[in-house]
Amino acid sequence: MIAWIRFGLTAVLLLGGILAFAAAMLGNYRFGYVLNRMHAAGIGDSLGMLLVILSLMISVSGGMDLLKLAALIVFLWCTSPVNSHFLARIEMEGDTEYLKHIRRICGEKSTELPAETKDGDDVKKENAKETGTGHLPKNHSGKGKQARKKGKRR
């Protein structure tokens, strides 16, 4: 009887984990941009792995296997945020592609962002000329006036 209860618990947790992985994959296809997709992939990396490995820990018998599964989940939970951090860093330090996305979300009224949408590289070059560096985070803080000017000119 207890064995069957263990089986039921294992089945529920395993199917829940697969559901979490399926949700991650659905988000991976439905979202339109990398940073959103990263959010969706995090579900599968943390919740899905937790549920699957928890179900295996319930059904396992040996003590050493239990320890190995615990090490697996601890290691995955430590490395997944680092991976996400590096991916986001690539995305933000690369080009001005993310500005298009923020602009699409904030709508046309937003004046905090550069008004350019098509030629993002030109914006970057201008910023590089004026501020000395082409680094992106300065766009957000100091470029409000510039963006407004540019919008009027257009």
Binding site: F7, R37, D45, M49, L76, T79, L87, I90
Partner: protein, 96 residues
């Protein structure tokens, strides 16, 4: 009876995860940007880790868990190395 039930459960789980693996592979191939592809590889890796862990229970082979641990580390290092190489390439282009 019970072992058959476990076998069926693990088989169903593995089949579903195989379908998700194929979807992750498609996402990796069609991803328009480099970060999409790296993210797809990362998801593929985590799915494979879960599959190996399930398989170790299904086949009663304890050493497959060691394989899963090593796979986790290699998947982590893959993303780290790819992103650092890509960042260095971008910086070199900026200097030019």
């Amino acid at each position: 009876m019970l072992s058959e039930a476990y076998h069926t459960l693990y088989s169903i789980a593995l089949v579903f995860m195989g379908c998700l693996l194929a979807l992750a592979l498609v996402r990796t191939i069609i991803g328009p940007r480099v970060t999409d592809r790296i993210l797809g590889v990362n998801m593929l890796g985590s799915l494979v880790i879960a599959m190996i862990a399930i398989l170790s229970q299904m086949l009663r082979e304890s050493y497959l868990l060691d394989v899963a641990l090593i796979y986790t580390m290699i998947s982590f290092v893959t993303v780290l190395v790819l992103s650092s190489v890509y960042l260095r390439k971008r910086k070199g282009r900026k200097d030019d």
